[in-house]
Amino acid sequence: MKQTEQVLVIPCSGIGKVHGLISREATYLVTDELAPDQAGTLCLALLVKGDEEALERVRTQPCITIDGCPKACAQKNVALAGGQTDCAFQVLQVLKQHRGAQPGSASGLNEVGWAVARELAELVRDKVTELSGCEVKS
């Protein structure tokens, strides 16, 4: 499978919290809709478990992480795996701008949640475009 040109968008596992769900949905928006050819994703648990293929991918492909909370699991684990995060996003950066608005629950986003996910996805898409422009990671 040739995936070397792809930019990896890696959200935190974010199970059980709405912020995690936003990071996940934003990722899907990028990989399915906004930049399906340039971006792919990778399961964080697989990386944490030390899967060889996953390790190889974060080490050789450009990475963008999206974290639901300041624990920054996605960013941390990419670093631990020996990968280089080219850009790290946090859901809270975008959510902050929607002062006090409730984005939904862990099992589903509401309108605000989707708006935040989409806003975030667009930021990620811009970064993906930028990164996939320079194919070889220095």
Partner: protein, 284 residues
């Protein structure tokens, strides 16, 4: 049953997304605590209290079994476990091939969640089972390959080429895996037991033995009705490694037709030859 649900991260596969949905439903239905595998791996202390208080249910979306492996690595006791491809199949359901579970997938997730957190059924008292004494092997044949030694009981056991043994006493038999197979699998973490009461044919599956390295289908050397499953393996699956021919037995059966089964089984000497070949091939 209120429990801690450790679920795989399940990001890039439809069944992974379903796993997450199952965990969320379980949390909604039985006030289960969801355990995030990534956070657990990075800072296990975060879940210490939850894991101390609640029984652990593990849900894996795919055969990589990240959640199970993580639990094993942290030496957590797994009370319930669900491997989604199997669980979905058992329900006779199909799943939508999508990362975002639609209404049908959510319905399915709810069903699976209810199954996961269902209270233990009132166990019917097992029908009086006359205890049979299975003697320990007296002599062992020892197949050696390099620095490895693979013992095989010289008498009283038969083998199939799928590395499973049977010990017969009267009309009753116990089956298990050979020392060679337990060494190939390395540290065994789980025995997925078959249902007691089920009749199986010779060479049917009689559960599966799992290690971090692989999942091994137990292929029954004999036909018969399953009358018991080794009760201690839930807590100490490592017995399969430590005493593969005795304490680590897997399943007990009431034999259907051992004379017919016997035709297709190997004696200790014959199996020893096979083990020697297998070990040579494996290291080639």
């Amino acid at each position: 049953m209120k429990c801690a649900v450790l679920v795989c991260s399940g990001l890039d596969k439809p069944l992974g997304s379903l796993a997450r949905e199952v965990a969320l439903c379980a949390a909604g239905q039985a006030e289960c605590e969801i355990v995030c595998p990534v956070l657990l791996s990075n800072s296990p202390g975060r879940y210490e209290a939850v894991l101390k208080d609640l029984p652990l249910a593990v849900v894996d979306g795919c055969g990589t079994r990240c959640a199970t492996k993580l639990a094993t690595q942290l030496e957590l006791k797994i009370t319930r476990r669900m491997l989604l491809p199997e669980a979905v199949k058992e329900l006779g359901e199909t799943f939508e091939d999508s990362l975002r579970p639609g209404p049908k997938a959510q319905e399915l997730a709810l069903k699976l969640a209810l199954q996961l957190v269902a209270d233990d059924e009132e166990q019917e008292p097992a029908p009086e089972l006359e205890a049979v004494l299975f003697p320990e092997p007296v002599d062992l044949l020892k197949v050696t390959h390099g620095k490895f030694v693979f013992p095989i009981p010289a008498e009283g056991y038969f083998f199939n080429e799928n590395d499973c043994w049977v010990q017969v006493v009267g009309s009753r038999a116990r089956i298990g895996i050979s020392d060679y197979m337990q060494q190939s699998l390395t540290d065994i973490t789980f025995f997925e037991a078959p249902d007691v009461g089920r009749a199986i044919a010779q060479f049917d599956d009689a559960g599966a033995v799992e290690s971090a390295k692989a999942v091994f289908d137990v292929i029954s050397p004999v036909s018969g009705k399953i009358v018991a499953v080794n009760p201690v393996l839930d807590d100490t699956p490592e017995l399969i490694n430590e005493q593969p021919y005795t304490g680590g037995w897997l399943v007990e059966l009431e034999l259907a037709d051992f004379d017919a089964d016997r035709e297709l089984l190997l004696t200790a000497e014959e199996y020893a030859v096979k083990v020697k070949q297998k070990a040579a091939e494996a290291s080639a």
